[in-house]
Each structure stands twice: as structure tokens, then as C-alpha cells.
């Protein structure tokens, strides 16, 4: 079946109104680590691979983009050698690969330029379900490797990289023409993809996948559509509303996690919410009580135990306040900070102490479903050939200004023109979801799991030459 069929039940049925979904994804790339590696810890982890991909999904109606969501997927591929004496010299028979998937909801936003009233909550739910259903092998077919692992033995004199000067690069190109008669990129010295991803591709993942979802909710006038708060039709949620909004979405995802059965402690479903600085019982009463899966939900976080070292158990995501706090702690030499103290101190940081409700939501457990590209004919995801092209394409949406509808029109026309040039079509959806009359327009504006002010983060940026 098609992706449009998959998503249609999350879009409203309104006189045949049709929606178009532009689903972009960055090429997968290897990243250093999901956690802060201090010193020697690095060595124990060298065989693990972390692969990252970013999804950017924009939804339009009547030729106007009105909703977008930015989500990061991290795949942690852990190698466990059954014969420790042979570590460092791995061969596939001796290796057990464990795979863990982290989904970080980075940003979501609406701009108020949808002509019809609808629930972006449902659309968000549909998109999240789809992303979680994607077979992880999808991300492993082509992985851009870390520079240190990539082209490790390349011949500097014949290879153009970002460190090659313009002069050298011109000389290399001339040389290529003289020898090979073309300017095509050098491919001979490419190294093979990481062993771990090959292993997963070859053997597949037999079990249900350990999946963790993280997000951080904090209300902002705009996250992805700049100037959109000037549109009076944009409905901006308060911190309290926003947290309710997201909890109800995440709660519905729990339907698709294994919630019972016999599995070991670590795989047990966990759903946690925390408001740094807020009383546990208040959080329970105000936020958890009304949820469908309230038996599963607890006040807290999915990251480690209170006595764990914070930087060892909290994953580092881009543009995330927890991450900024970890970084600044490490820079100040406070690498002994325990988790409990971490949360206590975090609430004192600027992002948290302005009297706005900010929520930390986390889910961890086994995801039940999986849609391979065989069952779904085609994911209809456009993956640009390079990360730079992905970013540039994303800019057609996030680089617009949305104080007038023109921004929503222009971002649509640029994206669809781009698709046309590639002979691609956005996913076209006619919704089948029926609203009960009054349950409409529950949140034209959304979410931003991201914080916006890093005054306290003490990040050192070096000036580029």
C-alpha cells in the first residue's frame, strides 16, 4: 500500500480537501557518540556506531505550507563480543549486535496559514507513527562516515577535501584531466561502511527494536516559521497547554509499544515526564492522571538512575538545553555531577526559571511495528545527495518570513518547483479522519522542544578564517 494510504487516517476529511506532504531526510551519517565521552571511556566504545539522520516534514494545503516538524533519528549499534579476548579483531560469528533507536523531536511549528480548521495534533501523531514504523535498515544503506574513519588512507595530493586550498584543488583537477580525462570525483580509496551497519543490513534485526523518544517542551512564539507570530491566525499555546498537547500525542504512541509480556527489566515500557523544579504530585495530578496510559506514566526521566553520572546517561542532542548544561559542566571540570544534582541544578538555568512550564518527556520500550519498503512500496522520502543540499532545501521553508501569507505561498512554490525539477511528487493526501464537530482547532501552534536562549551555555565558537 502507499504512504498516502498510511497517513490519510490522520488527516481530516473535509470536502475532499487535499494535503501535500513534503518529506525530506538528510543522508544518514555517522556521528562520534550520543553521550559525552570523557577521556579513556572512548576506547571501550570504539566498536559502537552511531548513525544519525534528520527528517524534515512540511505539510501544505491550498498551496501554502502551514506545518513543519523536524525530527532526529539516532541509531546506536552496539557490538558485544562473545569472546572478549579477541576484541579488536572482530569477526561476525562472535558478535552480538544490539540496536537502539533514539527519536528526538527537535522542533514543530505551525504558521496559521491553513485555510481550514484542523488538528495538527493528529497530523503530528501520524507522522510520528510513520517515522517509528520505518525499518531501521532504511538508514543504513548509505552512511556518510566520520572523517577519521573515512578515506583514512587517502592520498592528499590527489584528493579534494574541505582542507584543500583552491590552488591545490585546481592543480588536482588539471592532473585528473591529464591522467584520466575527466573531473569525476576520486572513488578508489573510499573505505567500506562500518562493519556494524553491514552486519545489520545483512542479518536484519530479528527482535523488536528498543526505542527511546525524547522531547523538551517550551512555548515560543515561533520555532520554524520566523515572524509567524505576527499572523493573528496563529494560535500560540502556553507552556501548560503545550505540555498537555504533547503528552496526549506521546500517550497515544504507547499503543504501539510492547506493554506486557515477558521481557527483562531494561525492555519494560517506560513513559516519563518531568518539569524541573515542579512538585511530583502536582505533575501527576495535573498532567498524568487524565492520560489513557496513566498506569505506565511516571514522574521522572528515562535517563539512568539518580546516582549515575549525568554526562554518561543523558544523550546529547543538538539545540537542547540538557545538552548545553552538560557541556558547560564538563568545560568547568564538573564531570562528577550525579543525575539527581543535575536535574536540581538544571532548573536554575535560564531556560527553566522564567516561570514558564517546560516539560521533559521521555519514552523507552520495544516498538511493535515495522514497515519495510517492500510492504509500503515506497516511503516517498526525498533524501538529497548531500547534507548541504538537505539544509539548503530546508531553508526554502525555514528561511522564509511568515508575517504574511506570502511566506507560506513562496515556501510551497519553491519546494514544489524543486520537486518538479527532480520529477518527484509530494505525498498527496485526502483525509479520512472525521472530527466530532466541536473538537477542532486544538492547537494551531505548537511545540518547541527546543530552547532558545543559550546565554548561559558558555559555548566557545572559534572564529573561522
Amino acid at each position: 500500500f502507499s504512504i498516502a494510504e498510511y497517513l490519510q487516517s490522520y488527516f481530516p476529511q473535509l470536502d475532499g480537501t487535499h494535503f501535500e506532504v513534503f518529506h525530506l531526510q538528510s543522508p544518514s551519517s555517522e556521528v562520534e557518540s550520543l553521550y559525552y565521552n570523557v577521556g579513556d571511556l572512548n576506547d571501550n566504545a570504539t566498536q559502537d556506531t552511531v548513525v544519525k539522520a534528520e527528517h524534515f516534514i512540511a505539510v501544505s494545503c491550498n498551496k501554502k505550507i502551514f506545518f513543519a516538524i523536524d525530527i532526529l533519528i539516532y541509531l546506536l549499534i552496539k557490538v558485544a563480543n562473545s569472546n572478549p579476548s579477541k576484541s579488536g579483531n572482530v569477526c561476525s560469528e562472535e558478535v552480538i549486535v544490539e540496536l537502539e533507536r533514539h527519536l528526538f523531536i527537535s522542533k514543530a511549528d505551525t504558521n496559521g496559514y491553513c485555510d481550514i480548521k484542523l488538528s495538527t495534533k493528529n497530523i503530528t501523531r501520524g507522522i510520528l507513527n510513520f517515522l517509528l514504523d520505518i525499518d531501521v535498515q532504511h538508514y543504513l544503506k548509505n552512511v556518510i562516515r566520520l572523517r577519521k574513519n573515512n578515506y583514512a588512507g587517502y592520498d592528499k595530493n590527489n584528493f579534494i577535501t574541505k582542507n584543500t586550498s583552491t590552488k591545490q584543488a585546481l592543480q588536482i583537477l588539471a592532473q585528473r584531466l591529464d591522467n584520466r580525462k575527466d573531473l569525476c570525483p576520486e572513488t578508489a580509496s573510499k573505505v567500506s561502511p562500518p562493519f556494524t551497519t553491514n552486519y545489520v543490513l545483512a542479518n536484519g534485526i530479528q527482535n523488536k527494536i528498543m526505542t527511546k523518544i525524547s522531547l523538551f517542551t517550551r512555548p515560543e512564539p515561533q520555532y520554524l516559521f520566523s515572524e509567524s507570530s505576527k499572523n493573528r491566525n496563529k494560535h500560540i499555546l502556553s507552556g501548560d497547554q503545550l505540555l498537555h498537547w504533547w503528552l496526549s500525542i506521546i500517550d497515544s504512541l504507547l499503543d504501539n509499544f510492547e506493554t506486557s509480556g515477558s521481557f527483562s527489566g531494561d525492555n519494560t515500557i517506560k513513559a516519563k515526564v518531568k518539569i524541573p523544579g515542579e512538585d511530583d504530585s502536582m505533575i501527576y495530578k495535573r498532567y498524568i492522571c487524565k492520560l489513557k496510559h496513566r498506569d505506565i506514566w511516571e514522574v521522572g526521566t528515562i535517563y539512568g538512575d539518580k546516582n549515575d553520572l549525568s554526562h554518561m546517561v543523558i544523550p546529547l542532542f543538538p539545540d537542547d538545553p540538557k545538552t548545553r548544561f552538560i557541556r558547560s559542566n564538563i568545560e568547568e571540570g564538573r564531570d562528577g555531577l550525579k543525575l539527581k544534582a543535575f536535574w536540581n541544578e538544571l532548573q536554575g538555568r535560564q531556560e527553566f526559571n522564567l516561570g514558564i512550564v517546560v516539560g521533559v518527556i521521555g519514552v523507552s520500550g520495544l516498538w511493535k511495528k515495522k514497515l519495510s519498503e517492500d510492504t509500503l512500496t515506497d516511503y516517498s522520502i526525498y533524501i538529497p545527495p548531500t547534507k548541504k543540499k538537505f539544509k539548503n532545501l530546508k531553508r526554502y521553508v525555514i528561511g522564509e518570513e511568515y508575517d504574511t501569507a506570502e511566506g507560506a505561498l513562496d515556501s510551497y512554490s519553491n519546494l514544489s518547483e524543486y520537486y518538479r525539477k527532480l520529477s518527484l511528487n509530494p505525498i498527496s493526501i485526502i483525509g479520512t479522519y472525521k472530527y466530532s464537530a466541536e473538537k477542532v482547532y486544538d492547537g494551531s501552534s505548537i511545540v518547541n522542544p527546543v530552547v532558545i536562549n543559550n546565554l548561559n551555555s558558555l559555548v566557545v565558537h572559534r572564529k573561522k578564517r
Binding site: T386, K388, N392, N414
Partner: protein
């Protein structure tokens, strides 16, 4: 008292020093132009032997893309020659008195011939001049201070004729008969926002013409043109997409080059 007049005297002389500095900046700029222009000439000669040079440079340049709609690129790809002249150092004597900041951009477009779209070969020169007289402005640009415009000047240009592709006839301002209808207005604006609209840009009617036309001009004169070779070689990297530093750091830093995102596309501000 003596102290005070000494101080006041020193401050007055320091004010003169600022003038001296400004003059030096100008001389340095002039010196740079005079030294560079012969090199650019030589370079442009050589570029004739590099097929698709400007197409590669312009499609590589993400800042340039911020000014240009996706549909315009088809015609941008026809540019096979760009030259910038600085009249203050050109050999031809002219009656106009030129400033260091004045420049002319010459574009040569190749012909495009398709069943449903025709675009003729042409050479178009767009001239940019620094202006200090703010009374020429129809209105003050947003976020701009009149005094600093008077002091530092602002870029202006004249509308220059360019033949539009037949595909764009609908949005070509010269061909829109009824500019007051909703449809006419919409098409007029679409045309003004296109790359061809930039050739009509004057810098005197902020909000009514190609948005940030001065920034696009400066992007050509200060970045694309002088650094074209760099962008050409960047496009030919073997590690097309090596994880860049930012990404590799991500594990530790946890931030991406998000500052990219704060830059906005250079968009129209019609009012």
C-alpha cells in the same frame, strides 16, 4: 581650565584623524582594485575554457540561492559570463565622477530553446552607484536610519532592459495589462521577486521592488566574483559531504550549525 582646553583641543584633532582614516580606507580600496583588476581580466580569459564555470559556481553558492527562487535557476544556468567593472579604475574616461563603491555587473546569457520556453542570448549590464542623497528615496527602508544612509551612503541602480523568458510572460511586469486586478497584482509581485525583477531594481522604492537588491549586488561584487574559483573547486570536492567539524563535534557539543537557520531567505517586503 588649562586641562580642559587641552582635552577639547585633542578631541578636535582626533576628529580630523577620523577623516584621515576614511581617506586611507578609500585609498586602500583603490589600491586593491587597481592591483586586482588585471588579475580578474586574466582569470576571465581563462574561464572561457572552463565549460559551465558560472553555472557551477552559482548553483554551489547557498547565499546566492537565498535570493533566487527555484524556478529562476533554469535561467541562471544560462549565465556563461560574468564581469564586474569598477568605473573609478576603468581606462575609459567618463564625465560621471565615480566613487570607490560604484560598480557595473555584466552578465552574458546563453540562448535557451525549448518547445514551451524561449530565452534569447543577451548581454545585460546592471550599474550600481553609491548615493548619499536620501531625498531621492520614495521612503526610508525598514530598519534604516536616515542619518547613517546620508553618512555611509546606499546602493542605487537604474532599471535595465532584459528580455524575459517566454515562460515568464505572465509575470513580466511590462506585459501585465491590468495591474490592479487581484490576478494582475499577484503576477506583478511574482515578477518583481524573480531574478529578472532584480534588473528593474533601483534601490529607491523599498518595499516595492526586488527585495534586498543591494545585498544581491554586493554578494556579486564582494563574494561571488572575487571568490569564484574557490566556489568552483568546492563544488568538486571528492568528499562531497564529509561529516563536517560541526557534526563530528555534535557528540560533545550537542549543537549543530544552527546559525545557518537564523539567516533568512532574502525575501520581499511588499507593504
Amino acid at each position: 581650565m588649562l586641562e580642559q582646553s587641552k582635552l577639547s583641543n585633542a578631541l578636535k584633532q582626533l576628529a580630523d584623524i577620523e577623516d584621515d582614516m576614511e581617506k586611507i580606507d578609500e585609498q586602500v580600496e583603490l589600491f586593491r582594485l587597481k592591483s586586482t583588476i588585471p588579475i580578474f581580466k586574466k582569470r576571465n580569459m581563462l574561464l572561457q575554457d572552463i565549460p559551465g564555470f558560472w553555472k557551477i559556481v552559482l548553483s554551489e553558492h547557498s547565499d546566492f540561492a537565498d535570493f533566487i527562487q527555484v524556478s529562476d535557476f533554469k535561467y541562471v544556468d544560462c549565465i556563461d559570463k560574468i564581469e564586474i567593472n569598477w568605473p573609478i579604475v576603468s581606462e575609459h574616461k567618463s564625465t560621471e565622477k565615480h566613487k570607490v563603491g560604484d560598480f557595473d555587473i555584466v552578465f552574458h546569457f546563453k540562448e535557451l530553446k525549448e518547445d514551451d520556453d524561449m530565452f534569447p542570448e543577451q548581454t545585460v549590464t546592471k550599474k550600481f552607484r553609491i548615493e548619499y542623497d536620501t531625498s531621492k528615496l520614495k521612503k526610508l527602508p525598514k530598519d534604516q536610519d536616515e542619518d547613517s544612509l546620508k553618512e555611509f551612503g546606499f546602493l542605487t541602480s537604474e532599471k535595465v532592459d532584459i528580455e524575459w523568458p517566454t515562460n515568464y510572460s505572465k509575470i513580466n511586469p511590462d506585459k501585465i495589462k491590468d495591474k490592479t486586478s487581484a490576478e494582475g497584482k499577484k503576477n506583478y509581485r511574482a515578477g518583481m521577486k524573480s531574478f529578472f525583477g532584480w534588473f528593474r531594481w533601483t534601490g529607491l522604492k523599498p518595499g516595492k521592488e526586488f527585495p534586498h537588491g543591494d545585498d544581491l549586488a554586493t554578494l556579486f561584487s564582494e563574494d561571488i566574483y572575487p571568490h569564484a574559483l574557490k566556489y568552483y573547486t568546492t563544488a568538486h570536492r571528492d568528499l562531497d559531504d564529509e561529516s563536517d567539524e560541526e557534526d563530528e563535534k555534535e557528540g560533545y557539543h550537542g549543537y549543530e550549525d544552527e546559525d545557518d537557520e537564523t539567516l533568512s531567505r532574502k525575501k520581499p517586503k511588499y507593504e
